[in-house]
Chain length 192, copies 2
DNA sequence: ATCAAAAAATGACCGTGGTCAATATTAAAT
DNA sequence: ATTTAATATTGACCACGGTCATTTTTTGAT
């Protein structure tokens, strides 16, 4: 019934978000402090939590924004149809996902919805990532003995695996893209 | 040189661990509070952090203990050599990994070492999981066109993917084991 | 313009993980 | 038995995310 959002609300919210972006630009994601954000935005701490359920909710918004922008770019180009091209197309996305360990952990944590009511921006992003990859795979030179949907899920799983190992000193010898290439070649190559 | 660990140290540490296990038995992992643990163990809060770098470090120890015990059991039996048997053999491990969302998140976060010096109990566990699966795969009826090592990495990636989706309301229709079976059949089945 | 109800903002306060200078205990040397 | 240096323990304290009763602002009706 009555939900005419006040202009003030939008302004405060936008202020908090851009303040947060400023703070992150200076010190990165992990170092962000709510206190610092509200000071930069010129509001009280309580206001922050009136706009975002918790600190992670703001992070979700900021990360999803960036990720969707990178995916926009990838989608704007000619659809890749080989493993190296797919990896290249997704490179900016994957690269951003692993800028900080903290970021990667957040993404994984929020990559799925715990409850229907809780589908957040990051879960939506992953859904979109999945759909984009699936579209590419439909016209790509890949195995056709299993559903494209399954192939796309696998791409996601392997991408996450490769990103995990990027943070792991035990497997630091191989680069992320090289590792993903090995995975995807084995996963997507048509059965002979 | 000089590192004769005092008996007292061992006793305090053991006391903290068993106190923590008691606390967890009552309320689960997520609800564990350091304060509660030190009270149960009859020591001061500072003592806790003299024994464990942080709360997560204790969690790592407790989780790895359990996980290794389940893997011990799996390893004691006859090596599985088909996809359903492999899934069945790992079921207790996977099941424990997903008792709580909090637990799963911790496991993922610590599944890799950030630095060589930081290889924790959970990273060791995952290394072991990988080796065990690889051993099984060597004598199993699976594709042989890619290295067994790669197949084992894939199993891990798909297992994590399937576990992630277990917490995701968007994909709650299929059960964990069913989903993993679909993944692994596509991943491991010999190319025809 | 005035007023009442809804919406938004405030900041003192709390819970909990983690720190550290001070204190107590242990082990080894004499 | 005393002394001493290394080691372990303590608990007051801090940092930071998050809460909520109170106050301020906005909106719409009169």
């Amino acid at each position: 019934m009555q939900k005419p959002i006040q202009k003030r609300t939008l302004k405060t919210r936008a202020g908090l978000i851009s303040a947060a972006e400023g703070v992150i630009q200076k010190g990165g994601y992990e170092a962000l402090r709510v206190e610092e954000v509200v000071q930069a935005a010129g509001v009280a701490k309580g206001t922050f939590f009136a706009h975002f359920r918790d600190k992670d909710a703001l992070m979700e918004i900021l990360l999803a924004k960036k990720l969707n922008a990178y995916l926009d770019e990838a989608e704007a180009r000619k659809p890749p149809n080989s493993v190296p091209d797919i990896i290249a197309a997704l490179e900016p996305v994957h690269s951003f996902m692993t800028v900080e360990r903290y970021v990667f952990d957040l993404l994984i944590r929020y990559s799925g919805a715990t409850a229907i009511a809780e589908i957040g921006p990051i879960a939506y992003f992953f859904e979109r990532y999945f759909r984009v990859v699936m579209m590419w795979l439909e016209d790509a030179d890949v195995r056709k003995d299993v559903p494209t949907e399954l192939l796309a899920e696998g791409v996601q799983a392997f991408a996450i695996q490769a990103m995990s190992l990027r943070f792991c000193a035990l497997h630091a010898s191989t680069s992320f893209s090289d590792r993903l290439k090995v995975y995807l070649e084995a996963w997507l190559t048509p059965a002979k």
